[in-house]
Symmetry: D2
Subunit: 506 residues, 4 copies
């Protein structure tokens, strides 16, 4: 879910600079965003919602803690919170039955026996279910956080208690962040052979600091847009000497992250921040990709009148057929109650347009970055900003007009809503399968490149989640499989079928 790009290792990677310059740097409030990845410092509200705001001010690095088995190979806020963390993990397990099911199916054969995995992800109850699955399948794991704010301290404690070497706490400094990563990788007598990363910070640390270790890695599994982008950069530069799996773009994850998840989070995000009634509201959704399709469907169903803006005529025609007026933003800017951006573009809503909005109208962003609304243009002396709730600013014009800006133009679904456990389950299951695949793949199946999850495994992830819905798959008869030219066990949408003639397009 790390959509934002980051300015990682700016000094080292000067050759990448121009490429990176497409992605605007978030500046201002946090000076440390200059040197570590932006995603690692994004506020990440929901996952940590149960977490205590402990008053103990001592840095975990300065404490010596032992778990009940007497070991100390971890560094967390307070090992005594383990029991509370265990409860959180157990509750999460209830909604991640796919992972539990995978754990049970593969436990006998221990497909990860011998795997030494270093991981760098958000450390939450859901991730803990993943980590404990990896352990159950035979892996040894050392783990750190990909974000300095998102760690659930009690979960980190619970993992440390059962012997996973976790180095993470909520509220790390930049120095802490790299120290924790290093502690994961740099251990005498133990050398990782797999990497599970979310954002690319761990991968680059190993690549830069421990090139000899890096060369012996059997596979990297990367979860985020950012990290995947970095891997392609490395690959393009001929420096990626290990196979990597891009799990961010797996079909299942994409569908759930975008269409289905946004369909719900647009309503949730708007409601939690503004209590707006949807019925009768006029809303313009900029962009009719998967995210826009999800947002418009939800709002239409709730009785809003929805307009769409698009640059692509095919998407525009889809919007027409789905019952939306396709307009230019300027045509409706004076009448709409809500603007939602989902384009991935920049300056989709300009100051000039914000000037013309109605009093009380709402502006927010569901797209891939915080560039879509020109928020910077609102930081001028004649406008007053009033923070009325967390994530809610009233920007007040000299004539008293208020425009309600949510999450300062950052992603509404990340800032003001929650990611359903079900979506996290799909991600975690995909990560586990990718690790198993890379670790067990026969020599030569994967080269030094970035791969998508094989379609069949994508289908397997989906199938593991069907029991949640008590959904029953139909099985092909031999005769039918032959008729369709398919293997009875899939993949059912063969790659060749779909992309068959693609290379012929001039």
């Amino acid at each position: 879910m790390n959509y934002n790009y980051l300015n990682f290792f700016q000094i080292q990677f000067v050759e990448d600079k121009q490429e990176f310059s497409r992605f605007p740097t978030k500046t201002g409030r946090r000076s440390l965003s200059r040197s570590i990845s932006q995603s690692s410092t994004d506020s990440y509200g929901s996952a940590a919602s149960y977490t205590d705001s402990s008053d103990d001010e001592t840095s975990p690095r300065d404490k010596t803690q032992l778990n009940s088995k007497g070991t100390s190979d971890f560094c967390v806020k307070n090992i005594k919170q383990a029991e509370f963390g265990r409860r959180e993990i157990e509750i999460a397990e209830q909604d991640m039955s796919a992972l539990i099911s995978l754990r049970k199916r593969a436990q006998g054969e221990k497909p990860l026996a011998g795997a030494k995995i270093v991981g760098c992800t958000h450390i939450t109850a859901q991730t803990a279910v993943l980590i404990e699955t990896l352990v159950a399948l035979g892996a040894q794991c050392r783990w750190t956080a990909c974000n300095i704010y998102s760690t659930q301290n009690e979960v980190a404690a619970a993992l440390s208690e059962i012997g996973v070497a976790v180095f993470a706490w909520k509220g790390e400094s930049e120095d802490d962040f790299w120290w924790c990563i290093d502690k994961c990788v740099n251990m005498e007598g133990w050398q990782p052979n797999m990497i599970l990363d979310d954002g690319g910070d761990l991968t680059h640390w190993v690549y830069k600091k421990y090139p000899n270790v890096f060369k012996k890695i059997r596979g990297i599994v990367e979860e985020s847009v950012t990290g995947v982008h970095r891997l392609y950069q490395l690959s393009k530069a001929g420096k990626l000497c290990v196979p990597a799996m891009n799990v961010n773009d797996s079909v299942t994850k994409q569908k759930f992250d975008n269409l289905y998840c946004c369909r719900e989070s647009i309503l949730d995000g708007l409601k939690r921040t503004t209590d707006v009634m949807f019925g009768g509201k006029q809303v313009v959704v900029c962009g009719y990709g998967e995210v826009g399709k999800g947002c418009t469907a939800a709002l239409k169903a709730m009785g809003s009148i929805v307009y769409v803006t698009e640059i692509d005529p095919i998407c525009a025609l889809q919007a027409c057929m789905d019952g939306f007026r396709v307009v230019k933003l300027n045509e409706v800017i004076r009448q709409v109650d809500v603007i939602i951006t989902c384009t991935g573009n920049k300056n989709v809503v300009t100051r000039d347009q914000l000037d013309r909005m109605k009093n009380g109208s709402i502006v927010c962003n569901m797209g891939h970055s915080n560039t879509e609304i020109d928020v910077a243009s609102l930081r001028t002396p004649e406008l007053t900003w009033e923070r009325v709730r967390s994530q809610v600013d009233h920007v007040i014009w000299p004539d008293g007009k208020r425009v309600i800006l949510l999450a300062e133009g950052r992603l509404l679904n990340l800032s003001c809503s929650t990611v359903p456990t079900f979506v996290l389950s799909i991600t975690a299951t995909t990560q586990a399968l990718a690790l198993i695949e890379l670790y067990n793949a026969p020599e030569g199946r994967y080269k030094q490149d970035v791969y998508l999850l094989p379609k069949k495994m994508d289908e397997y992830v989906a199938s593991l989640h069907l029991p949640t819905f008590d959904a029953h798959l139909t099985e092909l008869s031999d005769e039918q499989a032959k008729y369709l030219g398919l293997n009875k066990n899939g993949p059912f949408k063969p790659n060749y079928y779909r992309y068959k003639h693609a290379s012929k397009i001039p």
Copy 2:
């Protein structure tokens, strides 16, 4: 729209036999289906609905007719119907403004000047708008029908009246069919350089009978699944010596033919045949591809309770998220009121299942062929068939139970509904653009192979249809185009982006 396969040239193409054997042969009622394409003999109800059933029994081949300009290079039922046909064409023009718009935009430069096109399509008012557009853009055209039943005689007359050489009438014999094709191609002093085909009969006639002509063709544009399949066969066999354009699989056409068109035609087809009330009915839709998604969405909206069967876990998970129970057919067979098949598979509904259906339940097919319901299994002595309306059979069990079978298991949307002019407009515009592209492409852009329409042209077809909906596209600013790395005029979804890593899937 020719989904059914055909047993074309069975004798000549013995080498293709095994490939073709996947597609079952329709037998029985029409012996001529042995030797010409099945699609060319399919009943094709809607388009010809206005057509008279003239009493003149004389074969057009035996008549000499002159149009008002005194020429006789055509063969139609009755040239005197031209005026009536002209009115039909004018009415069709009203709903095909995209084509008219293309006509106007390209008329000055005559991009088809010098093109000599032979065409073989349904001859309807909509096709006439296409043909007259080609003429307006500079082409010379000779035309014949791809189906022996579908010709609107008065439209053929109207085209002949303005000088297009049309050879077609409603109710041709098999011999007539080939005679007409031959008359189009074989004309002294005139040699075609472009082919527009729908089903592949014309292409194969030229390929077989006039190999020298075939070699000089600059391009073939093929509309149907069947014809495209034949072209790929030829290509695979190394015998396709000209570039061909597969317009059947263009994005725009696919979306409209499947999702949007089926969303409406499932309701229309069921209503016209059975007058069934949708509200409260329990329906099972087999297959959750684009067609299944369209059918389920429409029925859910009308108050039916819809179940889905699927073999592919990814599609099954989509069905779950869209609010449908995913079941095996046997779980619900005793309770459902309607079964709709959309799988492309065979024997999806078996005799055993039909035996267990409720009295008064309806069975129909929206998929790609008439194999989905095992209709043959119902032709046993203990079952009575009662034809209660056109396309509606009651199959009656010994205990009096009736199952209502629509269109004998053939495609409901073709047999019992109509194809909206808007969809025909998209197809015709795509065909016209494909002809222009192939005719004008610089040397080397296209090899001797089958191509998809370039994405940008797909987008152009879409953009030509936006004015119908008064839809206004947003244009990228220079800055935004640069930010996104796109050309301001598209294509907006670059091919590389989408298919980038496809070849890496092991």
Copy 3:
């Protein structure tokens, strides 16, 4: 379903004239509409769709026919069609299980033993199921048609064959119409004690011609708006000397006739007449009552962009909350593709507005009468009318613009769609229950007035239809019934609760 008013007995009922003058007289094509009810001469397409167009020109009145039992107390087109009619009835029975269920439940006690019912309704397979139910419950029946076009001759034959005295055929003259009614009522040695009417013609015939018979009637059950209106007129004039039941306004029937039925028939009616694609079309629906709610919901679901016009602010606010722009017709008249009227008002669409509509736009009426579109204003010399299909006229302006007028402004759902058997089943069941109630009610329960069906019986009609949907009612426990102050068997929405304070509104 007889929404249109009629000019019945204009000479006799001069005292009613002013009241009646609200309802415009349809003139023109049929001179007989002056003297019999308009509804009795409305074209009534669907129900008779299976009926043969027999070539036998002899009037049934001039033939002597015997059924197989040797009796001749009937007058139908051709008694030999009885077998075919029986099949139609059997098919109808399959969709009218509620009536069959009622037949079974009440058959033992014969609640209509001694009832002598004269009926005047459409004579269709569905009505036959009703009539045979009445007979099964003990009644003697004599029957005639309420419409000169709607009789299914073979059904009339089948009823006559089993001994029901039917006097009706398709294509009666006005004189035939009254002759048939009289034959039903005026039979030596047999005097009716119950009336089942649809339109009021039978009731008024008895009232006028046989006042002594009329006084001894135990109850009248009236189905149509028209007939109910007439009964209230009689009641107001103090001339209604028997209790009458208004089954037109029963809750169940109203809901099904309007919201649920129109939701489907708007799509069906538009599709059958124009093959229009709904997706992306801009539609304005005039009136947001139950009919308007059904139409807008269906079109929105199919991807149309729907506007609403309203005069009532409460309904307008509902439209807003349901996601529709509420506009004045003039605001959108130039841009919409379809206008649908559902107001019950007159001149909702004026010539001035029709002048401003787009080329190719469609105008139709789903409201209560043919007054909503000012069709008369289109019959001027400068406009050309072109009948392109049954029920479809192109009205052509001097500049070539075409407006597509459906059913000449009459009810689209009656003229161009069908009434689902399920709705007819609800009506028929309600009629049967009303007859049972009136016939068995204790002295004094009903006075000489017009009554609604008791709520409990309305609920009973609904409950009889639940098995069709395999719907299972929850039953109140004794404790719950006590808590809610309800009888466990209903009625569940007590009248007092709903209407309690109504009389207090000043």
Copy 4:
């Protein structure tokens, strides 16, 4: 919005006891619920969400405060918060344009000049807009809170600052509650002539303590179900000596409170408490009244699979036609993920059923009282309750199964969601109009009874809210009004039309 009943003045009103016994007493946690109304002590989360939790522990009764004009006729937490409260009121005004519009229209004529209104409502920014409207229309107001928790202290301060005599603060004791009411009524030289009440506590205080004042009241406007019930009790007992207006049952308010409001709050309430993903979830909604219709529509739109239980066959048939399976709860209890009760009944979900629910399933109530789920049955020793968030309890069975109970079975929409300002605006506008009507009604229009808002005023409330949606009403022409028999300015749905035959139902 006060649905819960209360045991008010149990000692005094012994004669009402049997009637009241239908409504179960909430016992336990709050002993004071014995003597003041239950609604007055309900937690009321949303409205007070901005309110500070000030640390000043001094009781307002013990402080002397002066506003800036030097007066002290009020008692609030802290008059210095007035400025902050003013901002809250100004923000609320933006969403209550109907009230502002009413203020402007009626300000010139001062229709409430001379009115002396005592009010007892929630004291929030929205109520403040109402109160200031009443003042602007000429009234003098004294105000107190109807709930001991819901007062926004800063709003109370802002009102006091401009001279409204407010006696209320957040966190009153029972004694404070009555003291505040008394201070409003009992002021030397000032005697109220109008009452605006929400819950009936104020009304009964005046009735009991100041019978002479009560007799001179010109009208009571009551907002809550509870208060309305009490008024009918008084009326039935012949003790209501003044006219009262029941604004709870106005058409507009009912529609918004139930269907439209619940459609949104069910999603909001579930999401805020559980972060559940709706897609694919199986949900059973008990009761298909307006609330149930709203809940099911929303969940269906979000991709849930929804079942309905009903006792009333008419509602059950509606559910069928709307596309829901109608089941008994026991049929689906083992498979559903969520149960939502909306029946108004008791013990709709029993312990026995809770025992059979799935691990992780959610139970909540959207109905009229906290009786629907048998929560008491869950308070047994073998079950463990775990409070995981505010309003969220995990009830844990001995085998580890968790059922998630929301708001302890109280109203989810009040406890865990917010009431949109728009709905509050409708309520407040209705209250203002009711006060104007009662205060200005000519002698004799209203007797000593309980009245509904006249239909025309209901329509007026609706019309005042249309501009919010930029909705444009169509106006009847003279000719149309005559045709329909309506006044051009409404009412448009005449009372006589709707309720015409009601009294005839036996």
